[in-house]
Structures are given as structure tokens and as C-alpha cells.
């Protein structure tokens, strides 16, 4: 029960992350659920859904299907849809009920592929983990399945895979396009973008990249795998403001943002957001203020990206405790956190995170590469003084 959200909205679950990672691939995605999980993804977690042609289906799992184990019915319906849609892949995603009854999603996928010849996947998402895990598992499975051997053609040194690009982190206001444009303006050739605009061909060619850029934690496991298997180095970060910070690190292939030590006894700033983005923001902020800046995450922290003062806030209660601990004067976080600030001396600077507030604020994202982000920094510094 500790993960119950009383004031905040439920956080984006693993099946939403998985479906989002698969969204642009031209496949069929079947959520094995009664319809609530599919509705949660299409209605609340995926801004690309309305008006898209992406084939995300709900299996319509009912009580007697669970009792009788009607896997064949769902496989047949999927195969029938595949006849019309000619999908690049088929993916079955789990939800709480298949988790409880132990549905063999990988087995269903194997059977589907045996009959249709279409590459098929079963992802045992449960609805109990968060979006970043779901997306991460999809990236890994796609790379393991489709990535070809590294080509022997001479490298330009400027080819790149982008890993972890999802609306659940980047929002609905064009940040992903702006980041890609910025990278192209730095003369990088994008071989693959996991996962906005992702295609099977991009996945096949991703081992040929010179470098992987991990823009969110969901891409980190894939980056580690690509480094281990193909020797491709990776760095973690995304361009903010004019991108000068990242530009320097890309050139030096400096893997992580240098992390500060907490030294001041002043009341500080708490950034609650996706860890890689929050680290970039901290780097910009620390040029304007000397107050200690802590990164907090509701979704877990990577040890190698974590400063000593950073915090995993595993549930709403621990986030509320931290926000109101008296240690902070500014909270830089999703607007929904306003509800849980109980101290007069704490100010919120709004920074939407789709995985936290779904559609409520997905059109309020700042432009990461423009004045918006500078205004947020100025506002944070002003509130902190």
C-alpha cells in the first residue's frame, strides 16, 4: 500500500512505457487486459495516439478467458488483424490480470510468429513497475532481435544512436524534434532514434553508430548492451538552452555530467524529474546559484548518475516528507506537486513530467532548447534568493 498515490496521479506504468517504445515501429501492439490499461495508455500516457495510425489493440480479456486460458482466441484475432495491416512486428504486453494468472505472453508470441512468420514478442509487463522499465525491456529485446553485425565500412566518427527518447519524458511540445535538429546541426548523423520515429531498419543499423546518446534512463540498459556487444561508447545527457554543456561533452565523449558535492548549509533546490534531464538542469542552475541542488526521482536513480545527496523517492509519502523537510526553498517539479507542498517557505517552479501528470500538463512543457528553459532557471534562482 505504500505505493498508493493519495494526492498525486498514478505514475506511468511499465506497459505504457513498453507501448510507447513500440508506438512508431509500424507493428501491432496487443495489450492483454480488460481495457483499462489500454485506455490508460491511449487516453492518458500517449500524446501521439489521437490521430495516429499506430495499431495498439486491447485483447478484451474477460473473466472466462482467464478461467479457460483462451490464448488461441487472442492469437487468432491478432493474426486476423495482421492479415490486413502487414505489421513489421507483433507484440503482446501484459497487465495485472495476466500477471496473476501467469499468462505465457512469450509463448503466445512464439506461436504467433510460427504461424505468421512476423517477428513477435511477448513482454511480461505487469502494471506494477514503471514506464522506464517497460521501455528499457522493449529496447533491449528489439536490439537483441534485429541488430545486425557491425559493418566494416570506415567510420565518420559522427554517427549516433539516440536512446530513451519518449513523450513520457520529453512531452508533447516538440522537444524531441528540437533535440534531433540540434544534434544534426552539430554534424551528427542520427542512425536510430529509440523510439520516436523508430523503424526496424534503424534498429538493424544501430551497431554501426560511433556513439550512443542516452537522453533518459530508459535508454541506459540498451547503451550498456551496445557497448558490451559492439564496443560503442555512450554518453548520458541532452542539450538544454544552447546545448553548450552537451556539445563539450559530446566532443570529449565525457560519459556523465560531473556531479556536485553537497557542501552548503543553505536551504536548497530539489529537482524531481527524469534523472538525466534533472542532472543537465542542475548543471545549468549551478552556474547561477550556489545553493545545494538535489535530484530526486520517483522512478529510481542510476548509481553512476547520482550525486551523493540525490534521492530515490519511491512513493508519494516519501516525496511529501522530503519536499516538506525544511531542507528546500524551491521545488522544481511537475505542477501536480503543488498539492503536496505544506510549508509557507517552499515554492514550486513548475516543470511538467508526462510520466507523473499524464495529459494534464503535456502541452505545458518548456522548450528545452529555447528561452523557456532559461526562464525556468531564472525563476528558480529568483525564488531561491
Amino acid at each position: 500500500m505504500s505505493r498508493l498515490c493519495v494526492f498525486m496521479l498514478p505514475l506511468a506504468p511499465d506497459y505504457s512505457g513498453a507501448a510507447s517504445a513500440l508506438f512508431d515501429l509500424g507493428g501491432i501492439v496487443v495489450m492483454h487486459d480488460a481495457s483499462g490499461c489500454t485506455g490508460n495508455f491511449t487516453g492518458y500516457d500517449e500524446p501521439r495516439w489521437m490521430g495516429s495510425r499506430s495499431a495498439v489493440y486491447c485483447s478484451g480479456l474477460r473473466r472466462m478467458d482467464a478461467v479457460l486460458g483462451n490464448d488461441e482466441k487472442f492469437i487468432d484475432a491478432t493474426l486476423k488483424a495482421a492479415e490486413d495491416l502487414n505489421p513489421s512486428i507483433i507484440a503482446y504486453l501484459g497487465s495485472p490480470v495476466p500477471t496473476v494468472i501467469g499468462t505465457d505472453l512469450k509463448g503466445m508470441a512464439a506461436e504467433t510468429e510460427n504461424i505468421s512468420g512476423i517477428p513477435s514478442f511477448g513482454f511480461p509487463t505487469t502494471g506494477l513497475d514503471y514506464y522506464d522499465k517497460g521501455a528499457s525491456d522493449v529496447f533491449m529485446a528489439l536490439i537483441r532481435r534485429f541488430a545486425k553485425k557491425k559493418s566494416t565500412v570506415e567510420k565518420t566518427g559522427k554517427t549516433l544512436n539516440v536512446l530513451g527518447m519518449l513523450p513520457l519524458d520529453m512531452g508533447n511540445k516538440g522537444n524531441s524534434d528540437r533535440i534531433l535538429t540540434w544534434l544534426k546541426n552539430q554534424d551528427y548523423e542520427i542512425l536510430s532514434d529509440f523510439a520516436m520515429g523508430l523503424s526496424v531498419d534503424q534498429i538493424k543499423n544501430c551497431p554501426d553508430a560511433d556513439l550512443n546518446l542516452v537522453v533518459a534512463r530508459s535508454g541506459l540498459a540498451a547503451a550498456r548492451f551496445l557497448e558490451k556487444k559492439y564496443g560503442i561508447p555512450y554518453i548520458c545527457g541532452l542539450p538544454l538552452d544552447d546545448g553548450a554543456e552537451l556539445k563539450g561533452r559530446l566532443e570529449k565523449q565525457e560519459r556523465f555530467q560531473p556531479l556536485p558535492e553537497a557542501q552548503s548549509d543553505k536551504k536548497g533546490i530539489l529537482i524531481i524529474h527524469e534523472q538525466i534531464f534533472a542532472n543537465e538542469l542542475r548543471a545549468l542552475l549551478s552556474k547561477k546559484t550556489d545553493v545545494p541542488i538535489t535530484v530526486g526521482s520517483l522512478f529510481g536513480l542510476e548509481e553512476e548518475l547520482k550525486a551523493s545527496q540525490d534521492l530515490h523517492l519511491p512513493d508519494e509519502y516519501s516525496a511529501i516528507q522530503e519536499i516538506n523537510s525544511g531542507k528546500y526553498q524551491v521545488i522544481l517539479a511537475d505542477p501536480e506537486f503543488e498539492k503536496v507542498i505544506r510549508r509557507e517557505d517552499v515554492r514550486l517552479v513548475a516543470l511538467p513530467h508526462l510520466a507523473v501528470s499524464s495529459k494534464l500538463h503535456w502541452d505545458e512543457y518548456p522548450d528545452y532548447l529555447g528561452e523557456d528553459i532559461l526562464k525556468i532557471i531564472e525563476s528558480t534562482v529568483r525564488e531561491g534568493n
Binding site: 486460458g69 496473476v100 494468472i101 501467469g102 499468462t103 505465457d104 512469450k106 509463448g107 503466445m108 512464439a110 506461436e111 510460427n114 504461424i115
Partner: protein
């Protein structure tokens, strides 16, 4: 690595047979892991000198799901055979099939295969494939070969037929192969003939015939396998021959561990 599941009707002698196969394979120098997949959690008793080990679900019940360590659920018995019991819910309530799935997930999570590094895994599975949980040992990544223990009795052959059908049904998923039956004799008249007749419908061959022998009860009385308690007996020879036949009929597959 070989991954083998032993199925069969309740009370037919699966655990006794599986434990003796494990012991015989260990004597041949193989690293063996035996996983009991019956809520009764008594598959490995004769490898552990009659001692009942803590099952995975018992450990979860006692320590909480996130607090299990390999030492809680991995035990070494005769010949260094690694013994695990999946265990089950409180009798009469809960879900035994889901329990097996949970136990398998937990074994992977705690790195059990990396610790045991088995050459051979033997899954000893409750009587019949009654739900998805009891099919877990033959799902992708688990057993590749299924052997069914049967006698010449009607109910035992009926169960064998059901199990073989279930395994064949999973053929489209590229799962385990049905690899034959082990005839555990009950000394009924024309027993071998009866089993062979049934196999004309079920398919497959008799892998080995285990004679009815008092040695089995004698060894069990000591809480041991026949291989350990009476290594020079004819019954021990029969189990050793069965272990060799199983090795011949089972496939080498990819390791569960790096």
C-alpha cells in the same frame, strides 16, 4: 546443459525416480540441480537424508518477497546435488500454479543458476498439467525434454496421455519435447504389453523399465536414494541405466547462466 522435466500421475513414483536419476548422474560426475514443483515440497527428501528443506514459497512467506537469499532455498544433498523445492500456498487456499511461477521467477532473481551452475536440471512436476503454472517447467527457457513416469495401470496411462497431449499442444511455441515414458512397474499382469499398447496412441517409446523392488522402500526407510543406500543392488543398476538413457535422449541446450 540439459533441462529435463519428469511428469506423471500423483503417487506413481516421480520423486523417487527423479531423485535416483539425480543421484546416479551426480555419481557420473555431473553437477545436478533438482527442482521439486509440487506444493507438497517433498521431491528432494531422499537426497537430503529424509530432511524436508525450506521451499521457495515458505521462504517468501517467512522473510517477505524481497528478502530471500540463495542460502534460504538452495541446499546440497547426496553427491553435491543441488536441491530446491518450489513449495505451495497454504493448503486449500491460494493458487498453487501461480506459486510455481513465482518460485521460478524468484530463483532467477536470486541468481540460483549462477550459483549451482548445473550441467543438468531435473524438474519434478506434480501429477498433471492442470493450469499454466504447472506448465511453467516446460515453457520457453526451462525444460527441453519431458519424460513421463507411468505404470501399466489405467489411470496412470490416462494421465500420461493427458500430459503428452499438453506437451504436444505447446509444440507451436517451440517448447519442450515429449521424449518417452519411464515404466515404473507395479507388477500387474502384462504390464509392458499394456504400456506399449497405450503408447501406440500416445506416441513415444519406453525409455526404461524399472522393476518393482523392495530396495526402494528399504532405501526410503533410511531417507536415502537407492543409489546411495544400496549402490550394489539390481535396482541401483536399473536407475543408473535409466540415467544413461535419459542422457542419450535429451538435448544439449544453452546455459541458464553466463
Amino acid at each position: 546443459m540439459r533441462k529435463i522435466a519428469v511428469y506423471g500421475k500423483g503417487g506413481i513414483g516421480k520423486s523417487t525416480t527423479t531423485s535416483n536419476i539425480s543421484a546416479a548422474l551426480a555419481d557420473m560426475g555431473y553437477r545436478v540441480l533438482q527442482i521439486g514443483c509440487d506444493p507438497k515440497a517433498d521431491s528432494t527428501k531422499n537426497l537430503m537424508h529424509g530432511e524436508k528443506i525450506t521451499s521457495v514459497l515458505d521462504a517468501i512467506r517467512e522473510k517477505g518477497e524481497g528478502n530471500i537469499t540463495p542460502e534460504d532455498v538452495l541446499f546440497q544433498g547426496y553427491g553435491g546435488v543441488w536441491c530446491v523445492e518450489a513449495g505451495g500456498p497454504t493448503p486449500g487456499i491460494g493458487c498453487a500454479g501461480r506459486g510455481i511461477i513465482t518460485a521460478f521467477e524468484k530463483l532467477e532473481e536470486i541468481g540460483a543458476y549462477e550459483i549451482c551452475r548445473p550441467d543438468i536440471i531435473l524438474y519434478d512436476v506434480l501429477g498433471d498439467v492442470v493450469c499454466g503454472g504447472f506448465a511453467m517447467p516446460i515453457r520457453g527457457g526451462y525444460a527441453r525434454n519431458v519424460f513421463i513416469v507411468t505404470s501399466g495401470e489405467m489411470m496412470s496411462l490416462y494421465a500420461a496421455s493427458n500430459i503428452a497431449s499438453a506437451v504436444k499442444n505447446f509444440g507451436k511455441r517451440g517448447y519442450a519435447q515429449y521424449s518417452g515414458v519411464i515404466l515404473n512397474s507395479r507388477n500387474i499382469e502384462n504390464e509392458e504389453v499394456l504400456v506399449k499398447k497405450a503408447l501406440e496412441e500416445i506416441g513415444g517409446e519406453i525409455v526404461s523399465i524399472l522393476p518393482r523392488s523392495a530396495s526402494v522402500q528399504e532405501a526410503e526407510g533410511e531417507g536415502k536414494t537407492v543409489i546411495e543406500a544400496l549402490p550394489d543392488s539390481k535396482m541401483a543398476d536399473a536407475y543408473r541405466k535409466l540415467a544413461e538413457n535419459i542422457l542419450d535422449l535429451s538435448a544439449e541446450v544453452e546455459n541458464n547462466y553466463e
